[in-house]
C-alpha cells in the first residue's frame, strides 16, 4: 500500500491521521523527511525500507544513545535489521508525539529498554540501560574509567529492583514499569521527538 508518486494521497492522509497521534502538518513533514532519506531509485515508494543507518542520520536521532533500540522496536522487517518503512516511521513519530497517551509511551519505552527482548527488564538490561544513560558513546569502549564502579552499579540496581519490583521476581515487568512511570511528572514531556 504505497504510492508511486511522491505525494501522499488524501485517503491515506486521513487514515494516518486517524490511526496515529500526528496532525496533518506533522504527517506531511514526516513524509518530506522520509523521502529525503530514501535513495534515488526508491524515492516515493513508501513501502520500501530505509536502512537503519540512514534513519540514524536524522538530526533528532543522531546523538540519541537509544537510536539503535528505537529502530529495532519500531521495525516490522523480517530480518530484524531495524529498517523502517514509512508506516513504521509514522508509528515511531506517533509514539513520540506531543499528544500520545502515557500508556503508549510507557509501552514503547519498556520495549526500548528491554535490550534482550525477553519481555522483562532483568539485571543485564538494567546495567546496559544505566551505561547508556551515563557513559558517552565514544567512551563506552574503555571500561571502568567513566561511569559507576562495580559496587556502585550493584547498589544502584539493587535499589532500583527494591523500589520497582513489586512481585519480587527479580525483574521489572511491564506493569511494574508503568507503575513507576505513572509517578513521574516529567515523563510525558521528555519522551518526545518532534521533527
Amino acid at each position: 500500500m504505497g504510492t508511486t508518486s511522491s505525494q501522499l494521497n488524501k485517503n491515506d492522509l486521513s487514515e494516518y491521521q486517524e490511526l496515529t497521534f500526528l496532525t496533518k502538518q506533522e504527517i506531511l513533514l514526516a513524509h518530506k523527511r522520509f523521502t529525503e532519506l530514501q535513495s534515488k531509485e526508491q524515492k516515493g515508494v513508501l513501502h520500501l525500507r530505509v536502512p537503519m543507518e540512514k534513519i540514524h542520520s536524522l538530526p533528532e536521532l543522531k546523538s540519541n544513545p537509544f537510536r539503535k533500540r528505537i529502530c529495532q522496536v519500531f521495525s516490522t522487517s523480517e530480518d530484524k535489521d531495524g529498517s523502517l518503512t514509512f508506516e513504521d516511521f509514522l508509528d515511531l513519530l506517533s509514539a513520540f508525539s506531543d499528544s500520545a497517551t502515557i500508556e503508549i509511551k510507557s509501552h514503547y519505552a519498556f520495549r526500548i529498554f528491554d535490550f534482550d527482548d525477553d519481555g522483562t527488564l532483568g539485571y543485564g538490561d538494567l546495567e546496559k540501560l544505566v551505561n547508556c544513560l551515563t557513559i558517552p558513546e565514544d567512551k563506552q569502549k574503555d571500561t571502568e574509567e567513566t561511569g559507576l564502579t562495580r559496587e556502585e552499579m550493584k547498589q544502584l540496581i539493587t535499589n532500583i529492583l527494591d523500589e520497582s519490583d513489586i512481585d519480587k521476581d527479580g525483574t521489572v515487568n511491564l506493569s511494574e514499569f508503568q507503575h513507576v512511570i505513572s509517578r513521574s511528572p516529567d515523563f510525558v514531556s521528555s519522551f518526545k521527538i518532534v521533527l
Binding site: T23, I104, P136, I160, I166, D169, P185, D186, V194
Partner: protein, 682 residues
C-alpha cells in the same frame, strides 16, 4: 485463548503474566512476537455495543501500522450493522473530535515562542525551560488583563473626557489644591527625568489615578456609564481574574504533584527510567545530559551513604550540629531584619526629601528601589554561604534558600508599602496635626494615589534597568574574560550558570509590584507586558551566549507548582494592599474618580440605590443568611464527597499493589511446583 482486546482500553494487559512466563522460558523464540495475537474470530455479540475500538481508540493501541489498518477495515465492515441512531451519534462524535483537533491545530499555530522554547529545552533542560514557560504565562496574563482594563476604564475615560464634561476646579477648599503639571515649557533633560520618575507630564496623563475624574456620563438624565464604579469593579475583577488563571495553571501541576506524592530523594528507578530527555539535540547536549544523570545518580548514592553515616553519629556531635544550625538560622534572620531596617530608613528619607530637583532629586526618588535591589542581591549571597556551613542535604538546602529569598523579597516590598502608608495616613492616626483636615497628609500628598502609583512605576522601571545593566556590564564581560583570557582564576570562576530559582523570584517580585500598583496606575499591566517581552529576549540572549548549562538539575514540574505558590503569596500581599486602600483610607479630594466620597468602596452602596427595585431585592436576598447558609452547607457536602473519593482511590491503589505482590508469590510457587513435578516424573 485470551483476547485482551476485548477488555477496555488500557495498555497494561499486553504482557499478561502467562505471556511473560512463556517468554522467560524460551527467550530466543519470542524475540519479535511481543504483542499478543489478535483474536480475529471474536464474538460479534459481545462487542456490538461495548465495542471500545472506535477510530479514536485505534491509535492508542501499541501495534504496527499494518495491524491497525487491518483492524480499521474490520471495523468499517461491521459499521452498517449498527442502527441508525448509533450511527448518527457516531457521526456526531466523529465531527466533534475533528473540530477539537482542528481547534488544537489552530491554537498550536498561535502559541507564542514555541520554537524558541523547544530550542531552549533541548539545549539546557527542563528546569530552564520551565522558567521561560512561566515568563510566557505572565506575559499572556498581563496582556489579557491590560485589555480588560483598557476596555472598561481607559477607553470610556477617553471617550467621555472628550465628550466635554470637564471637572470644575472652582472648588478652592484646603484639601483641593492639586496641580500636577505646573510648568508650561519643559527643558529636555527634565523631560527625561519626568519620564523616569512619573512626574510632570506623565503625572497628568492616563498613566495615573489622578487623571481620571468622576464623570458619570449622563444621557437624557439616565445613568449611562458610571466611571468610578467601572474603575472599582475592573480593579476587583482584575484580581479575581488573575487568581483564576493562577489556580487553573496550578491545577494541572498540582494534580501531578499529588499523584506522585511529592519528590523523594534517592528515587533511583524514576531517574533511570524517566531521566532521559529525548528532545536533546546534538552531541554536546547529549553528553551533558549523560554527565547530568551520572552526577545525580552519584550524588544520590553518596547521600544514602552519608545518611547511613549520620544515623551513626555520636550524640555529642549531633548536639553540636544542631546548635550550629540554630545559630546560622538566627544569623540569617538577623541579616533579613537588617535589610528591612535599611529599606525603612531609605524610604523615610526619600519621602522626606522629595522636593529636590535634578539628578540628586532623581537619585533620592530611586533610593528605596536601589536599597531593595541591593538587599535582594546581597542577602541571598550571604545566605548561600551560611547554607554551606549548615550542611543540610542538597534538596533541603535548595528549599531553604528559596524560602529565605522569597521571604526577603516579599516582605521588603511590604516594608516599602508600610512606610508609604505611615507617611500618607500619619501612622493611621487621623487626629494627628497633618491629617486632621482631610484624613490624609494633604501637604505632602495632595493626590496620594498617584504618588503610590509612581512608586510602583519606579520599582518596575528600575527592575528592568538593573537587569539590562547586569546583562551588559557583568554577564557579557564575564564571558569575554573567561573565553579569551585563560588563567587559573577565570577557570575557577568559569562561565555563568543560569540560576533558575532566583530568576523566577525576580519575575514574581515584578508581578507583585504590578498587582499592587494596578489600582493606582492603570497602564501598569501594559508596561509590564512590554517589560516581560523585552526580558524574554534579553534572558534568551544571555542564556545562549553567556551561560553554560547547569550540572545540577532543577526538577521541572514540581518547581512550576512551587513558582505558582510563590506567585500566589505575592497576589495575597497585593490583595491586602488593595482591600486596605479601598475600604479604609480616605481617597484624595483633589483628584481621581473617588473624590467627595469617604472611602472608595462607598461608591457601591451609593450606586446600588439607583438600580431597579427588583434587582435590589434580589441582591439583598443573595447577601442574606437565607441564601448563604444553605450554599455553605452545600459546598461542605461537595467537599466531603471529593475527600471521600480521594481516600477511596488511595486505598484501592494500595490494595491493587498488594494483589500484584500476591500474584507474584503465586507465580513463583507454581513454577516451583512445575519443576518438582518435572523432576519427579523423570
Amino acid at each position: 485463548m485470551s483476547s485482551p482486546l476485548d477488555r477496555s482500553d488500557s495498555g497494561n494487559g499486553f504482557y499478561s503474566d502467562q505471556e511473560s512466563l512463556r517468554l522467560r522460558r524460551a527467550p530466543s523464540r519470542m524475540s519479535n512476537q511481543n504483542y499478543p495475537q489478535y483474536n480475529w474470530r471474536s464474538n460479534p455479540s459481545d462487542d456490538e455495543v461495548g465495542n471500545a475500538e472506535s477510530p479514536r481508540e485505534l491509535r492508542t493501541l501499541a501495534r504496527p501500522m499494518a495491524q491497525k489498518k487491518a483492524l480499521r477495515q474490520v471495523q468499517q465492515m461491521r459499521m452498517p450493522v449498527s442502527t441508525s441512531a448509533k450511527s448518527w451519534t457516531h457521526n456526531k462524535t466523529k465531527s466533534l473530535h475533528k473540530l477539537k483537533s482542528n481547534f488544537r491545530e489552530f491554537l498550536y499555530f498561535f502559541s507564542l515562542w514555541r520554537k524558541s522554547l523547544q530550542k531552549i529545552g533541548g539545549n539546557f533542560g527542563g528546569g530552564v525551560e520551565s522558567y521561560f514557560l512561566f515568563l510566557r504565562f505572565l506575559v499572556v496574563l498581563n496582556f489579557v488583563s491590560f485589555l480588560l482594563i483598557a476596555g472598561f476604564v481607559i477607553v470610556p475615560s477617553l471617550v467621555f473626557r472628550s465628550a466635554g464634561t470637564s471637572l470644575n476646579s472652582t472648588d478652592d477648599g484646603p484639601c483641593m489644591k492639586y496641580n500636577p503639571n505646573p510648568q508650561g515649557l519643559v527643558v529636555f533633560y527634565e523631560f527625561f527625568l519626568h519620564l523616569l520618575s512619573g512626574q510632570g507630564f506623565m503625572e497628568d496623563s492616563l498613566m495615573f489615578y489622578g487623571y481620571y475624574n468622576n464623570n458619570t456620563a449622563m444621557e437624557e438624565g439616565r445613568l449611562f456609564y458610571n466611571l468610578p464604579l467601572a474603575y472599582l469593579f475592573t480593579a476587583v475583577f482584575y484580581f479575581a481574574f488573575c487568581l483564576c488563571c493562577i489556580i487553573a495553571h496550578m491545577g494541572t501541576a498540582a494534580r501531578v504533584v499529588v499523584a506522585t506524592g511529592g519528590s523523594t530523594m534517592g528515587n533511583y528507578s524514576l531517574i533511570v527510567f524517566t531521566g532521559w530527555d529525548y528532545g536533546c539535540l546534538g552531541d554536546q547536549a547529549t553528553k551533558l545530559k549523560q554527565k547530568n544523570i551520572y552526577y545525580r545518580l552519584q550524588v544520590d548514592l553518596e547521600e544514602e551513604r552519608i545518611k547511613k553515616q549520620a544515623a551513626s553519629l555520636t550524640p555529642w556531635r549531633r548536639v553540636a550540629l544542631y546548635s550550629l544550625r540554630v545559630l546560622m538560622f538566627l544569623i540569617s534572620i538577623g541579616l533579613i531584619v537588617a535589610a528591612f531596617y535599611g529599606i525603612f530608613v531609605a524610604t523615610e528619607f526619600s519621602q522626606k526629601n522629595n522636593e529636590k530637583t535634578g539628578i540628586l532629586g532623581l537619585f533620592i526618588e530611586y533610593l528605596p528601589s536601589m536599597v531593595i535591589t541591593a538587599g535582594n542581591f546581597l542577602v541571598p549571597l550571604l545566605c548561600d554561604q551560611i547554607a554551606l556551613i549548615e550542611k543540610y542535604s542538597p534538596s533541603v538546602t535548595v528549599v531553604v534558600a528559596l524560602l529565605r529569598a522569597v521571604v526577603l523579597r516579599m516582605v521588603s516590598l511590604g516594608v516599602l508599602l508600610f512606610t508609604l502608608w505611615s507617611q500618607i495616613t500619619c501612622d493611621g492616626n487621623t487626629e494627628a496635626m497633618d491629617c486632621k483636615m482631610c484624613q490624609y497628609n494633604v501637604d505632602k500628598y495632595p493626590c496620594w494615589e498617584t504618588r503610590v502609583g509612581q512608586e510602583m512605576y519606579k520599582l518596575t522601571l528600575f527592575d528592568l534597568l538593573v537587569t539590562i545593566a547586569l546583562l551588559v556590564l557583568v554577564e557579557f564581560p564575564r564571558r569575554m574574560v573567561v573565553d579569551n583570557w585563560s588563567s587559573k582564576l577565570s577557570q575557577l570562576v568559569g562561565r555563568q550558570e543560569f540560576v533558575v530559582p532566583s530568576n523566577v523570584l525576580g519575575l514574581v517580585y515584578g508581578q507583585t509590584v504590578v498587582w499592587t500598583g494596578a489600582l493606582f496606575c492603570p497602564l501598569l499591566p501594559l508596561i509590564n507586558t512590554v517589560k516581560f517581552v523585552f526580558l524574554f529576549y534579553c534572558k534568551k540572549i544571555t542564556l545562549f551566549y553567556n551561560c553554560r548549562p547547569a550540572l545540577k538539575t532543577f526538577r521541572s514540574t514540581t518547581s512550576t507548582f512551587f513558582f505558582l505558590v510563590v506567585l500566589l503569596f505575592g497576589w495575597i500581599l497585593s490583595l491586602v494592599v488593595m482591600i486596605y486602600s479601598l475600604a479604609v483610607i480616605h481617597p484624595s479630594m483633589a483628584c481621581g474618580p473617588f473624590r467627595f466620597i469617604p472611602t472608595m468602596w462607598q461608591i457601591v452602596p451609593n450606586s446600588f440605590y439607583s438600580l431597579s427595585k427588583v434587582t435590589q431585592e434580589f441582591l439583598f436576598f443573595i447577601g442574606s443568611q437565607a441564601f448563604s447558609i444553605p450554599l455553605f452547607a452545600l459546598s461542605c457536602v461537595v467537599m466531603f464527597y471529593f475527600i471521600a473519593l480521594a481516600s477511596i482511590y488511595g486505598r484501592s491503589v494500595a490494595m491493587l499493589k498488594a494483589q500484584l505482590k500476591l500474584k507474584g508469590h503465586d507465580k513463583q510457587f507454581l513454577v516451583k511446583q512445575i519443576e518438582k513435578m518435572k523432576s519427579s516424573s523423570l
